[in-house]
């Protein structure tokens, strides 16, 4: 029994991509009830991986996904599965590499390229070892650290608020009740902007029912079909033990996932209390410094991170606000700077110059909140210069940065969190690298992996590291898209193909291609060519009458445009309208489902195709008989 518990705990440490886990409190903070769907979906996925898929893999000759599929359905099916494993693993590796790069850049001022390079070496070393025990130990350590980094701050915050020991994960109910009261007062006083505000416990405001449904199904099936999770649980080679290891893994993952909404509520309570008390921006509480310094939060479009970059620009010799824009490079900071009111730019520039003249007079944080923020507030029409709900924008990853400041011992807690999420990212990435190294068929001498597999794993991780250093990709959509491809391409085969005797090789191959194809087509179509996607599928779109009228008007404009330039402009406007944005669903959709949640379409297509094609192709057992 204790063996399966240990195996489950170790699998739990590497079950979920660290970047997604770190973003979860911020997601729940942003959308309240609606984003609780993430936790439910992820845990349901762990249960399915352990109970539905791992026992089947444990019965196969090798627990790796591609070899188990190859054993039953032949080499072609194994190759298709191998390609899918790489397609799923690559974006997940990119996400965790990027995440660690950000963590070290913001936390320890180490250039991302060094952190990512060190991580690449560690991940490849641990992931390509023949012995699975070092990886299992690393994953178990990751779980312990993650649990500590979530539960220790929770306990400390609950202690500070309640003035005594409580069980934080259950005791926050009263705090939630209190938060609801604060929210009502804010609404009554007209202090919220309903574009960005939704009451924390109110359901279906940011996501409607069918979005929640599609998200839960995509996450659950995607986690169930993750290339490393079920295989790790199946390493015992005994289905009965694999099942209990899966149940233990679900228990350990559950402990992490139920602390997430608690952290979100504690942080939201602290922020909304600050807003309710009309706290002047010049005396902003110190726990907001960390997210502002990391650029993970913005107040009226500014952040401490931006101010420090302006200081660096002035030190580098920039004489005007326009020169600062050039010094900021081509990234998000430049766009953030150019979006600011010229008056605010001028104030920041002058404050930066002043700070450089006498660096010891006041810290950058003091100058930022005392000088820059009141100017930014005035430009935004916030004449009282107090913290407002609409003025504060928070990245999903920024919320965790508030937490250490709320505990009373910010330094050690921040260090514990950074350590925990780094080790978790290492454990997940090394597990994925191991899964990639195992996709090439094993030789007859029962060695688990070939040197070609290791070469492939090194190539895939190096590619992921390269993208992580040079690309700036939004992490949450990236991880969810990878899970959607896993749900669409791999889940039907792993859940139904391996269990159903009548499944045929042709059925399995076509199902993998069709499932991944449908989801891939949906994600690419809605993002890359949204206007023509909508034109093709307009009867299925959830577009409003108003949006359709606008689309038709732009279409006519594009058709009647006289110059090439005008036509290109109208086509771009059409694409923007059809693509939608983070806050507005575009026209290019099927039933309003977000591109990242489209795993549900692919999984459905994959299951249907698997059943139909298997039934019309001759069964293996019949064809095996002479």
């Amino acid at each position: 029994m204790s063996g399966t518990a240990l195996r489950g705990g170790s699998a739990a440490g590497s079950a979920l991509p660290a970047a997604l886990l770190a973003a979860l409190p911020g997601l729940v903070f942003a959308a309240g009830y609606d984003h609780l769907a993430y936790g439910v979906g992820l845990l349901a996925g762990v249960v399915l991986a352990g109970l539905l898929i791992a026992p089947r893999l444990a019965q196969a000759a090798s627990p790796a996904i591609a070899s188990a599929i190859g054993e039953k359905f032949g080499a072609v099916a194994a190759s298709v599965a191998a390609v899918l494993v790489v397609v799923v693993a690559l974006p997940l590796l990119v996400a965790d590499f990027t995440f660690v790069g950000l963590l070290f850049e913001r936390g320890f001022a180490i250039a991302p390229v060094w952190a990512v390079a060190a991580m690449l070496v560690a991940v490849v070393l641990v992931g390509s070892m023949r012995d699975a025990r070092p990886l299992a130990l690393l994953s178990a350590l990751a779980w312990l650290l993650l649990a500590a980094s979530l539960l220790v701050p929770l306990t400390l915050i609950a202690f500070a608020i309640e003035g005594g020991a409580t069980v934080p994960v259950t005791a926050y109910g009263l705090l939630l009740q209190d938060l609801q009261g604060i929210e009502e007062t804010l609404i009554e006083r007209g202090l919220v902007d309903f574009d960005t505000f939704s009451a924390h416990a109110a359901p279906f405001i940011r996501l409607i029912e069918r979005d929640v449904f599609a998200l839960v199904v995509t996450l659950a099936l995607g986690v169930a079909a993750l290339p490393h999770l079920a295989s790790t649980l199946a390493q015992t080679r005994n289905p009965a033990q694999a099942r209990f290891a899966g149940a233990w893994a679900a228990l350990f993952v559950m402990i992490l996932l139920i602390s997430v909404p608690a952290l979100a509520v504690y942080a939201k309570h602290a922020i909304y209390t600050t807003i309710l008390n009309a706290t002047p921006l010049a005396s902003l509480p110190p726990w907001l410094e960390a997210p502002l310094a990391a650029g993970a939060a913005q107040i009226h479009g500014t952040s401490l991170d931006l101010f420090e970059q302006v200081v660096a620009g002035v030190r580098g010799g920039s004489q005007t606000t326009a020169a600062i824009a050039d010094a900021l490079g081509a990234g998000a900071s430049r766009a953030q700077w150019q979006a600011l009111d010229p008056d605010v730019q001028q104030v920041m520039f002058a404050a930066a110059a002043q700070h450089l003249l006498d660096p010891n007079a006041a810290s950058a944080w003091e100058i930022y909140r005392g000088t820059v923020l009141p100017a930014a507030a005035a430009a935004a029409g916030n004449d009282a210069a107090v913290l407002t709900q609409s003025g504060l924008a928070m990245n999903p990853l920024g919320l965790l940065l508030i937490v250490p400041g709320l505990t009373g011992v910010p330094g050690p807690v921040a260090l514990l969190m950074a350590l925990a999420f780094t080790v978790a990212a290492l454990a997940v990435s090394a597990s994925l690298v191991r899964a990639v190294a195992n996709v090439l068929p094993a030789r007859s001498d029962e060695r688990e992996r070939t040197s070609a597999g290791i070469v492939l794993a090194v190539a895939v991780s190096a590619a992921a590291a390269g993208v992580a250093v040079f690309g700036r990709i939004d992490l949450v959509p990236l991880v969810v898209s990878a899970l959607a491809i896993a749900a669409a391409g791999l889940f039907p085969v792993l859940a139904l193909g391996l269990a159903w005797r009548r499944a045929t090789a042709v059925g399995v191959i076509v199902a993998m291609i069709a499932g991944a194809g449908v989801t891939g087509y949906y994600m690419a179509g809605t993002q890359l060519v949204p206007a023509s996607f909508y034109a093709t599928w307009s009867p299925l779109s959830s577009a409003s009458e108003y949006a359709v009228e606008e689309f038709d008007r732009l279409t006519v404009e594009a058709r009647e445009a006289e110059t090439e330039e005008e036509r290109a402009e109208a086509a771009a406007a059409l694409d923007d309208l059809a693509r939608g944005s983070a806050t507005r669903v575009g026209l290019a959709n099927w039933a309003g489902i977000d591109g990242a949640s489209s795993g549900i379409f692919g999984a459905l297509a994959g299951i249907l195709v698997l059943i139909v094609v298997s039934l019309v192709t001759p069964s293996r057992r019949r064809s095996a008989q002479p």
């Binding site: 845990l43 249960v47 994960v169 109910g173 929640v212 659950a220």
Partner: protein, 143 residues
Amino acid sequence: MIEIGIGVLLVAGALALVAGAFGIVAAPAGVDLFPLFGVVGTGLVLTAGLLLVAAGRTRRAIARHPERRHTLRSTRLTIVALLLVAGLAIALPLSPGPFNLLRIGGFPAGYYLAAQGGLIGLVILAFWWAARQNRIDAEEQGS
């Protein structure tokens, strides 16, 4: 046998509701029950009926074909467990309305179930599922 009978009755009832709603047959005494049940309610009645019929047929098949006992029992357990997973992970978060009328320790109950209760339920379900399937495997090994 009894579950097949009840199941057939439920399916017939659901079909009658749909038929009444679309005016295919005149509703008895002019009462249209469809709005009372709604699409979801009618769907639930229909699903419950079909599941009962399937359960009854599976029980008979298990009694008649001892050589297929293991497959049939495992398949039945898998389907029941998957339905329970869907209930806890999908149906529960989608229906917080009625639960939110209650409060559990300060939480609106619908919120509590989506944030914690459903997750705890999934873990209990996972242990039950593992124990149950292992028992089926152990019992059927000899036969």
